[in-house]
C-alpha cells in the first residue's frame, strides 16, 4: 500500500516539471479596438481565468535553457499548434499540422527545445495559419543571454532598458464567426479578401499610444528596441535621427556590420533590433507605417511617443506611462501601457486591498469592477522591470 502512494507522488512531480510554460489556447476571446468596436478573437493565455490577449503573453527564456511549452487546447473549435518561429527546432516540435502534431480539444501538446541564440523570435499557431494568426494566436518570444540581463548577447552591447514592439493588423471581416468557425477539414478553408483597417503595435493602435511619456530613452546610454512583424503588411519604422539608431541584429542573429539607419523595413515574419542612444533631451515619436506589399501604399500609421531623459532621473521615467479608462469608472477598468506590466493592485483610501492580480506579462488589462463600492481607490501597476506606478481612480 505504501509503495503505491510513492508511485503516485512521483507521477505528479513529473507532470509539474513538464509544465515549464503553460499556454492555453482559446477561441472565445474578444478584443475591444481603439474606437470601441468589439471583435471575436482566438488567442493564448497562461491561465484559465484570463481572457486571451492579442497578442499573447511574451515568453522569455535564457540561452541554453531546456524548455517545455505545454499547450493546452481548451478551445471549442479547431485543433491548434505552436510554431516556434525562428528557433529552428526539429520537425517534431515545429508545430506544422501535417508534419508535426496537432493538439485536439482538451488535449495537451508538449513542445521541447533548447533555447538557441539570444534574440527576438515569435510563436504562433500554424493550423490554418492565415486565419489563426489573424484571429490573434501569436506572441513574442525573447531569448536572453544567460546571466547577463542587460546585454544583447554574450560580449554584445550593454543597454539600460529594453522595449518590445510586435506589429500586426486587424481586418474585422476576418473576425466574424462565419469565418472563424472553419471546417475541421483543413484542406480548403475559405478566407475573405484582406483589407485591414486597424494597425496595431503590441495590440494597441492610434490614440491608445498617445501617452506622451510612454517611452523614455536615457541619454548617454543604450536602450534596446526589439521590433517584430507578425502582420501581413510591411512595416516602415522611422526613428528620429537624434536617437542615433544602430541596427544590430535580425532574426535572432547579430548582423555582420552595424548599420546607422533611421528607417528600417520589416516584412512579415522578420525581426530587427536596434540600439538608440540619444545625447540630448527631447520629445518626439517613432513612426510605424503599415505598407501594403502589393500596392506599396501606406495604409496605416502608429506613432510611439517618447521622451529622452537624463539617467539621473531614472525613477521618474514611468510617470504618465499608463492610460486608465474610463476614470471615473463603472463596471470595468481598462489599463493600458506601452511598458509591459505583470500585476495590478487596487486599494481603498484606508489601504484595504480590494483587488490583487498577478498577471502574465501584458500591455493591457480589463478589470471587472461591478461589485466594487463607489468611492476613491488607489490603483498600483507593477511593471516588468520591478518598478511600479500608483494612480487615483474613482468608482461611480
Amino acid at each position: 500500500m505504501r509503495s503505491k502512494i510513492v508511485i503516485l507522488f512521483l507521477a505528479v512531480s513529473f507532470l509539474v516539471k513538464a509544465q515549464d510554460e503553460l499556454l492555453i489556447a482559446r477561441t472565445t476571446g474578444t478584443k475591444t479596438l481603439v474606437d470601441g468596436t468589439v471583435i471575436n478573437t482566438f488567442g493564448f493565455a497562461k491561465r484559465l481565468s484570463e481572457n486571451p490577449n492579442v497578442p499573447g503573453p511574451t515568453l522569455e527564456f535564457y540561452e541554453g535553457d531546456s524548455v517545455v511549452i505545454d499547450m493546452w487546447n481548451v478551445s471549442q473549435a479547431s485543433t491548434h499548434t505552436i510554431h516556434l518561429h525562428g528557433l529552428d527546432v526539429n520537425q517534431q516540435n515545429d508545430g506544422v499540422p501535417h508534419l508535426s502534431f496537432e493538439v485536439d480539444h482538451m488535449e495537451h501538446g508538449l513542445y521541447r527545445f533548447k533555447a538557441p541564440h539570444p534574440g527576438t523570435y515569435l510563436y504562433h499557431c500554424h493550423v490554418v495559419s492565415v486565419l489563426h494568426v489573424q484571429a490573434g494566436m501569436y506572441g513574442l518570444l525573447v531569448i536572453k543571454p544567460k546571466g547577463e540581463e542587460n546585454m544583447t548577447w554574450e560580449n554584445g552591447y550593454k543597454f539600460r532598458r529594453a522595449y518590445n514592439f510586435l506589429t500586426s493588423e486587424i481586418d474585422t471581416a476576418w473576425h466574424s464567426l462565419d469565418v472563424l468557425e472553419h471546417s475541421y477539414d483543413h484542406s480548403a478553408i475559405a478566407v475573405p479578401d484582406y483589407k485591414p483597417t486597424y494597425f496595431l503595435c503590441n495590440g494597441l493602435a492610434d490614440s491608445e499610444y498617445n501617452f506622451g511619456d510612454s517611452l523614455r530613452f536615457s541619454t548617454g546610454a543604450n536602450s534596446y528596441l526589439r521590433f517584430a512583424n507578425i502582420g501581413y503588411y510591411g512595416n516602415r519604422i522611422i526613428l528620429p535621427k537624434e536617437l542615433n539608431t544602430k541596427v544590430i541584429d535580425s532574426d535572432g542573429r547579430p548582423l555582420p556590420d552595424v548599420f546607422d539607419w533611421d528607417t528600417i523595413m520589416i516584412y512579415p515574419g522578420e525581426r530587427y533590433s536596434v540600439l538608440v542612444n540619444p545625447t540630448v533631451d527631447f520629445a518626439d515619436s517613432i513612426k510605424i507605417e503599415y505598407v501594403n506589399m502589393n500596392t506599396y501604399q501606406t495604409q496605416g500609421i502608429n506613432k510611439l511617443s517618447f521622451k529622452t531623459y537624463n539617467s539621473a532621473g531614472i525613477e521618474s521615467h514611468l510617470k504618465g506611462s499608463i492610460k486608465i479608462t474610463p476614470n471615473p469608472f463603472y463596471n470595468e477598468l481598462h489599463i493600458a501601457s506601452i511598458n509591459a506590466f505583470k500585476g495590478i493592485e487596487l486599494c481603498d483610501v484606508l489601504g484595504n486591498q480590494i483587488l490583487a492580480e498577478s498577471l502574465t506579462v501584458c500591455n493591457e488589462y480589463r478589470a471587472n469592477t461591478t461589485s466594487f463600492r463607489s468611492g476613491v481607490y488607489i490603483l498600483k501597476v507593477k511593471f516588468l522591470d520591478g518598478t511600479s506606478l500608483s494612480k487615483k481612480v474613482i468608482k461611480y
Binding site: H83, H85, G86, D88, V89, N90, Q91, D94, V96, L99, V128, S129, V130, L131, V133, Q134, H186, A188, I189, A190, V191, P192, D193, Y194, Y232, Y233, G234, S250, D251, G252, R253, L255, P256, D257, F259, M265, Y267, P268, G269, E270, R271, M293, N294, T295, Q297
Partner: protein, 249 residues
C-alpha cells in the same frame, strides 16, 4: 491555376516547350552565348537582360539574334521591358556559374486573375488597386510546387544547398524558412544584406537573391510566404506560396 481556373499567362523558355516553370537560362562563366529569340506572340516584345542587353526588339511572329560574353558570375534578370508583359509572366533569370550549376531555382510570381483577363482584352489595369489572388513558385502553387525538381529542395545533413530566387512578380514576398537559418550570398537589390543569417527574407519585386542553407538535422520543413494571404489561391487556404525542404540524414 492550382484550382483549374484559366488565366492569361505569358512565358519564355530555353527550349521549344513553353511553360511557366522553365524561365531559367544557365550558362558557364566566359561562355560566348548566342541568343536566338523566337517570338510566337501576336505583338512585338522588347527583352532586357540585366547587365548585358538594355533591350532587343523581337517583332510579332519573328526572331532576333544577339550574342553576349558572360564574363561575370551571378544571377541576372531576363524580362520584357513592358510592365504589363512582365506582369503577365515574362520575367526569368540568367545564371552565370563557375562550375556546373548545383542549385535550386524559385521564380516567385503572383497575379490577380481579373487583371490578367483585363490585359487579355487590352483593357487598362491600375496597380494601385492590385490585390493578387494567386501566388506561385515556378508557376505552381501548393501542393504542386513539389512536382518541380528545380523547386523541390532535397538534400542531406551537412550539404551546402544553394537556392537562386528571382521575384518575377510585382509584390514583395517575405519568405520564411522553418528548421534552418540561411545565409545571404548575393542580392542585386540589397547588397548590404550579403552575409546576413536570416530565417525570413523579403524578396523585393525584381530582386535576384542567392541563399545558402547547410542543414544540421534531418526532417521535412516548410518554406512559405509569411504574408500569409499569399498561402491562399483565390481565397482558399493552403494553396499558395508554400512548399517544403526535405533533408535526409
Amino acid at each position: 491555376m492550382v484550382d483549374s481556373t484559366e488565366v492569361t499567362y505569358k512565358a519564355f523558355s530555353s527550349d521549344t516547350i513553353l511553360g511557366k516553370n522553365r524561365q531559367l537560362f544557365s550558362v558557364m562563366l566566359n561562355d560566348n552565348v548566342q541568343f536566338k529569340f523566337v517570338n510566337r506572340d501576336s505583338i512585338a516584345h522588347n527583352v532586357f537582360i540585366e547587365s548585358w542587353i538594355e533591350g532587343i526588339n523581337i517583332p510579332a511572329f519573328s526572331t532576333a539574334d544577339t550574342t553576349i560574353i558572360c564574363n561575370k558570375t551571378g544571377v541576372f534578370s531576363v524580362e520584357d521591358i513592358d510592365e504589363n508583359e512582365r506582369y503577365l509572366g515574362l520575367s526569368g533569370s540568367l545564371v552565370v556559374s563557375v562550375n556546373e550549376p548545383t542549385y535550386f531555382y524559385w521564380n516567385l510570381k503572383e497575379l490577380q486573375s481579373s487583371f490578367s483577363n483585363l490585359l487579355d482584352e487590352s483593357m487598362p489595369i491600375n496597380f494601385n488597386e492590385y490585390q493578387p489572388n494567386y501566388f506561385m513558385i515556378n508557376g505552381r502553387s501548393n501542393p504542386d510546387i513539389g512536382l518541380d525538381s528545380l523547386a523541390k529542395i532535397r538534400g542531406k545533413v551537412g550539404d551546402t544547398l544553394r537556392l537562386v530566387i528571382h521575384n518575377g512578380g510585382n509584390s514583395v514576398h517575405s519568405l520564411h524558412f522553418h528548421g534552418y537559418h540561411f545565409k545571404i550570398i548575393s542580392s542585386n537589390l540589397k547588397p548590404f544584406a550579403i552575409g546576413w543569417e536570416k530565417d525570413t527574407y523579403a524578396v523585393l519585386a525584381g530582386e535576384n537573391v542567392v541563399v545558402e542553407i547547410v542543414p544540421d538535422k534531418p526532417g521535412e520543413y516548410p518554406v512559405h510566404d509569411h504574408n500569409l494571404v499569399a498561402t491562399t489561391a483565390n481565397n482558399i487556404y493552403p494553396n499558395g506560396m508554400f512548399t517544403t525542404l526535405v533533408i535526409t540524414p
